[in-house]
């Protein structure tokens, strides 16, 4: 069954998971890396905690697969579950939050942040991973999250709205405030 469904879309696979539980493996393979990066970038959880959380996310996907709304993209739905679990976990472990870790090339993030953003290009576009991690760590988690979804993962406002379950206009406002917050934090770090 797995081989038969490997080339199908997420939505088609999701529709059959209740019937064939082993198909969850396809969804895990497709989303494991993306979700792991997402959790790492926004929560600062340790590797072990991230793995446990990821496992919880996929178990929850499996248990709630019949509530998947076909009007929604599967990726938005799975990110939403991951978002809810990550935020809950982050709230529980706020005090022992580790460092936000950005392993990827920062240039695409910074480029897209500036292209969409009318902040003057007074920041060097080649921000180091360490600085970017530090800036992201110092801004509010809700701002950090929308910046990552928008500029790292490339989601549209509509998709972010589906993930964080907030109106599209609110998402727009959050992104705009997040950019300002990012710039302010960057300036603060730069001055030091």
């Amino acid at each position: 069954v797995i081989e038969e469904y490997r080339r199908k879309t997420d939505e088609e696979v999701a529709e059959k998971v209740a019937e064939h539980p082993e198909l969850i493996a396809i969804l895990v393979q497709r989303y494991e890396v993306k979700l792991e990066s997402y959790i790492r970038r926004i929560s600062g959880l340790s590797f072990e905690d991230r793995q446990d959380l990821l496992q919880e996310v996929f178990i929850s996907v499996y248990e709630n697969i019949n509530s998947f709304d076909p009007d929604l993209r599967f990726s938005s739905w799975v990110y939403r579950i991951c978002h809810n679990k990550t935020i809950n976990e982050w709230k529980k472990n706020k005090k022992k939050e580790g460092d936000i870790s950005i392993d990827e090339n920062t240039k695409p993030f910074v480029d897209s942040l500036y292209n969409e953003n009318n902040i003057e290009k007074d920041i060097e576009q080649n921000i180091s991973k360490e600085v970017l991690s530090k800036v992201l760590r110092n801004i509010k988690i809700e701002y950090r999250e929308v910046l990552i979804l928008k500029f790292f993962d490339g989601y549209s406002y509509d998709e972010i709205s589906d993930i964080i379950q907030k109106p599209k206009n609110t998402v727009g406002t959050m992104v705009s405030r997040a950019r300002q917050s990012f710039k302010a934090e960057f300036d603060k770090i730069n001055k030091k």
Binding site: P21, I24, V28, E32, I59, Y62, D69, S161
Partner: protein, 230 residues
């Protein structure tokens, strides 16, 4: 290191996990929708009772009897309990409504405003059909806290009437005694319009010859006749 998908499949088997059925989710959505409809209905009944109370409060009459400003009178006689009930159920509705499907796309404020308008509309229909009187009576007969709240409202009006006129009257007394009502109105007109009554006998007013000072003018109405401020 074991692959995550294998770990998850093992976990599913080990804990014998099953996806929740479609019926479960349908029932949940039904329950949320039912609660939403119920919330709107209760808020509409609250609105209908508000309309009824405003109608029954004889605003115009009381305002004529006293020199309360409209805002002040509304403030002391508002049926706060219905407001509270309406508010609680509107918030409950907004909370539930945004949980269904993609309704999170609407802002909380727009959902609350929409629900309020809908409740006002349904509430006015309930009121116009005469059902608000029935609900009001039912509430008064069966809900102790409601009875108490209405008593407090009457008490407040009485206290302010007494404060204003320094006489031992109650709203109920004024309502049931035409002479007292006339006296209150006369005192009000004396105070607000600076009237000086020559007589409150309407027959006498027809034959009496009034002379007023330069800065006064003659008045004559159903409360009597005399001189008042220009």
């Amino acid at each position: 290191m074991e692959k995550l998908e294998n770990k998850i499949i093992k976990e599913i088997e080990l804990r014998n996990l099953k996806p929740r059925s479609k019926a479960f989710f349908k029932a949940r959505i039904f329950a949320i929708n039912f609660l939403s409809v119920l919330s709107i209905f209760i808020t509409s009944v609250a609105m209908a009772s508000l309309f009824y109370q405003v109608q029954q409060s004889n605003f115009k009459d009381v305002l004529e009897k006293t020199d309360f400003s409209v805002v002040y009178y509304v403030f002391i006689t508002l049926p706060y309990l219905w407001f509270l009930i309406g508010l609680i159920f509107i918030l409950l509705f907004a909370h539930n409504f945004r949980k269904v499907k993609r309704n999170y796309r609407y802002t909380f404020t727009s959902v609350v405003s929409g629900a309020l308008l809908l409740s006002l509309f349904i509430g006015s229909i309930i009121h116009m059909s005469g059902l608000s009187k029935v609900t009001e009576n039912l509430a008064e007969q069966n809900i102790e806290i409601y009875r108490q709240q209405k008593q407090i409202q009457t008490l407040k009006t009485d206290i302010f009437l007494n404060k204003l006129y320094e006489i031992g009257v109650t709203a109920e007394m004024v309502e049931n005694d035409p002479e007292l009502k006339k006296e209150i109105r006369r005192r009000y007109l004396e105070k607000v319009l600076g009237r000086e009554y020559e007589s409150d006998d309407l027959d006498e007013c027809k034959v009496i010859k009034l002379t007023c000072s330069k800065d006064q003018k003659i008045f004559s109405d159903n409360t009597g006749c005399g001189c008042g401020k220009k």
